[in-house]
Structures are given as C-alpha cells and as structure tokens.
C-alpha cells in the first residue's frame, strides 16, 4: 500500500504541473512516472490494469469522436486505408494528456490504505464528522447493492415481472428501489443512536504527531520529479 503522504505529494505535484504547463509530452511523462512509481511502491502490476481500466473508457471515445466523427477537423490522413482526422487525434490526445495525470494520481490513491488515510485525516484535523460521513457512505453503497439484489430476488419470487422486456423492467423499478430507500431512511434513527452510544462524532483530536515517513518519503517525491523529467528528456531527444 501507498502512504497517504506520498499520494498527497503526487497530487500536489500533478496539479501544479497540469496548471503550469500545457505541454502534452510533460503530462504523459508525469502520468507514466506516477503509475511506474505506484507499481514500485505496491510491488504489484495490478496498478497498471487499474489505470488502463479507468483510462480506456475516456481515451477510446475521445479518439473515435474527434479522430473519426468530428467534422470540425479535416479528414486528411489514412491508416490501413481508413481515413481519419489528424488534428482531431491531436486534440483528443491533448485532452487525454490532462486526464492521464489525474487518472494516474487516482490510481495512486486507489492503493492508499483506507484506514490509514482516515487516521491521517483525523491527525490533520479534518473534522471527524466529515471523515465519518465519507466512511459511512462508502460502507452503505455496498449495503445498497446487497439489499437491491435481495429485494429483486424477493419481488421476482412474489411474481412481480422483472423482465425480459424493458417495459416490465421499468415497471418493476419502483418495487425494487423503494424498499431499499425507505428501509435505509427508517434506519437513520437506529444508526444515529448506535454511533452516538459508541462515542463516534464526539472524538477529539488525539494524534500527537503526523505519521510522516521522513527521508524515505522525501526520496519518493524527488523520484516523482526526476523520473518524469528523465522520460520527457529522452522522448524529446
């Protein structure tokens, strides 16, 4: 896992570079570096898969829309006898270069341990109610999906048609969603009492010092500056 301070360092660095530079090559170098450093930190190639999974739904439509469809760019090039718009591809890549940095940073954050990150936020004096709100919401999203599945099975067992055509599915939608919504809202009192009785939200700042990795983390931040610079230099050379 990646320490929160490292992910924060990459966020600050990525944000600053994207705001200060409009050079596509700089952005791509930075994105590649952050993904490479995340792989080095986690010692797992799964990070590359995560990056590709969140990148492709943006990159492919961008290239298709602007490289083939958008008539604002001239159809002036061919690849394997397929005509495409050279300027459209350039535009798509320049939009994606900004997004690539953001997605690389997001990939880094995806490898931060959630508990460690919440401890960090508390230590950084982020209000505990905000930390609790985000944590509770994420936990409840999983609960909603589970309940949705259970309600769908129950309604199907009761004979409510939930398919196969879309009209049946659309008519079944309220009967599946409403029990999930009302049960959750009705549980608010119980959840609130349970949290209050456990002293949650009354928690005061207790951490004496921030969990900072010292020279080790400074080294990582230095690497995340030197590596993209090296990639950028080698690409230009």
């Amino acid at each position: 896992m990646i320490p929160p301070v490292r992910a924060l360092g990459w966020t600050a660095l990525g944000g600053t570079i994207v705001m200060c530079s409009s050079d596509r090559l700089v952005h791509f170098s930075l994105a590649v570096s952050i993904v490479a450093l995340t792989v080095a930190s986690t010692k797992s190639l799964k990070t590359i898969k995560t990056f590709v999974t969140i990148s492709l739904p943006l990159l492919v439509p961008l290239i298709l829309i602007h490289g083939l469809v958008n008539p604002q760019f001239e159809m002036n090039a061919r690849m394997w006898s397929v005509p495409y718009r050279q300027e459209g591809i350039t535009f798509a890549l320049s939009v994606y270069s900004n997004l690539a940095v953001f997605l690389a940073i997001a990939t880094g954050w995806a490898n931060v341990n959630r508990d460690e990150f919440f401890d960090w936020m508390v230590a950084c004096r982020v209000p505990v109610f905000l930390v609790g709100l985000v944590g509770q919401s994420i936990a409840m999203v999983i609960l909603i999906e589970k309940r949705g599945r259970a309600v769908l099975k129950a309604q199907t067992a009761r004979g409510i048609p939930t398919g196969p055509n879309w009209r049946h599915r659309l008519r079944a939608l309220p009967s599946v969603i409403l029990p999930v919504v009302t049960s959750l809202i009705n549980e608010a009192d119980q959840r609130s009492t349970a949290l209050w009785s456990r002293g949650f939200l009354e928690y005061e700042f207790a951490a004496k010092d921030l969990p900072f990795g010292g020279f080790r983390e400074i080294g990582w931040v230095a690497a995340s500056i030197i590596l993209p610079a090296a990639i950028d230099f080698s690409l230009r050379a």
Binding site: I65, V69, Q72, A92, P174, L178, L184, A188, L201
Partner: protein, 181 residues
C-alpha cells in the same frame, strides 16, 4: 454533538450512498439509469440546506472513489441539483406524480446546463457512454462541440431525472411525517 445533528449526519450519509449506489440497483434490472439524484431530492425533503449541500458535494467525492475518478469534476452539478431540488420542493413540485415528473425534467435541464461545460472543456465531449454516443451523432451532423454536448446531455439527463423525480416522489410519500423538513 446534539443528537439532532448526529441524525442529520447519518441521513446525509444515507443520501450520499443512495446517490452513488442506486445506479447499481438499476443496472441489476438491466436499465441504464444512473439515479444519481434520488438521494439529493430526498435530502431536500428531509435535511436542512447546509447538510444537503454537504451531502451533494460529497456524493461526487464518494462516486469518484467508488465508481470512476472522473466524477470528482461534477461536484458543481450535484450542488446545482441540490439547489434546484430545494427550490422545486418549496414550490410544491413534489406534491403529485405529474408535477414530480416535471420537476425531474427541470432538474435534468439544470444538471445538463451545469455539467456541459465540464464535459466539453475537461473531457472533450466524452461523458457516460449514452451521452457520448449522442454527442458523436450531433457532432457528425455538423453541430459544434458545445452544442452537441449540451444537446446530448439535455436528452439523456432529462429522461434520467424524470425517472429519478418519479421515484423520489414515491419515496417522499412513504417517509414518516416527522422526518420531513
């Protein structure tokens, strides 16, 4: 912390989770609705506006963690939807089914107007697959990127939000009367 505030925080967390999670429930039925506003509309009926705005803003943050990091850029859309929902609720637009459908449509238009600049500038016209496909059709027919994004978003968002408005109306009717703000 007062018990009432604690309860508001818990309800806010539920509204955030509904915004993010109900799309997955809709997908279980094979329907393409995102349902990312039901929590916000319900919140407008239950929560004070400060908590509602907090819940709306954090919905995008949680969606960016759970679904796709790109949702982070749409915080403004969620906040605009929250403000529109508060206005429409106070105007009595969720008192009957047809009015709720109209309110959903208006929320959809509001959502499309606020999110179109983000989609056009940050994402180059690419959004969720259904909107991207429509954008491509509009672009191919000779419209500018901005017009295409706005038109595509308006069509998809208004349909999605009409469904969300109707579901929210059903849900509001089932709320205990002591819970409504």
């Amino acid at each position: 912390m007062q018990p009432q505030i604690q309860k508001h925080l818990v309800v806010s967390a539920i509204c955030i989770a509904l915004n993010v999670g109900l799309g997955k429930v809709s997908n279980l039925l094979g329907l393409p609705f995102t349902m990312d506003t039901i929590g916000t509309i319900l919140g407008a009926a239950i929560l004070p506006w400060q908590f509602l705005l907090l819940a709306a803003g954090l919905s995008s943050v949680v969606a960016s963690v759970v679904i796709q990091p790109a949702f982070m850029f749409y915080i403004g859309t969620q906040i605009a939807i929250a403000l529109a929902a508060v206005g429409l609720l106070s105007a009595g637009m969720f008192k009957s089914l047809p009015k709720a459908a109209i309110a959903g449509f208006l929320i959809g238009i509001c959502s499309a107007i606020v999110s179109a600049p983000v989609t056009a500038i940050v994402f180059g016209g690419v959004a969720v697959p259904s909107i991207s496909a429509l954008n491509a059709v509009f672009l191919a027919s000779g419209h500018s990127l901005w017009t295409s994004v706005l038109s595509g978003s308006m069509i998809v968002e208004s349909i999605d939000k009409i469904v969300a408005g109707v579901i929210a109306w059903y849900a509001i009717r089932r709320l205990p009367s002591d819970m409504r703000a």
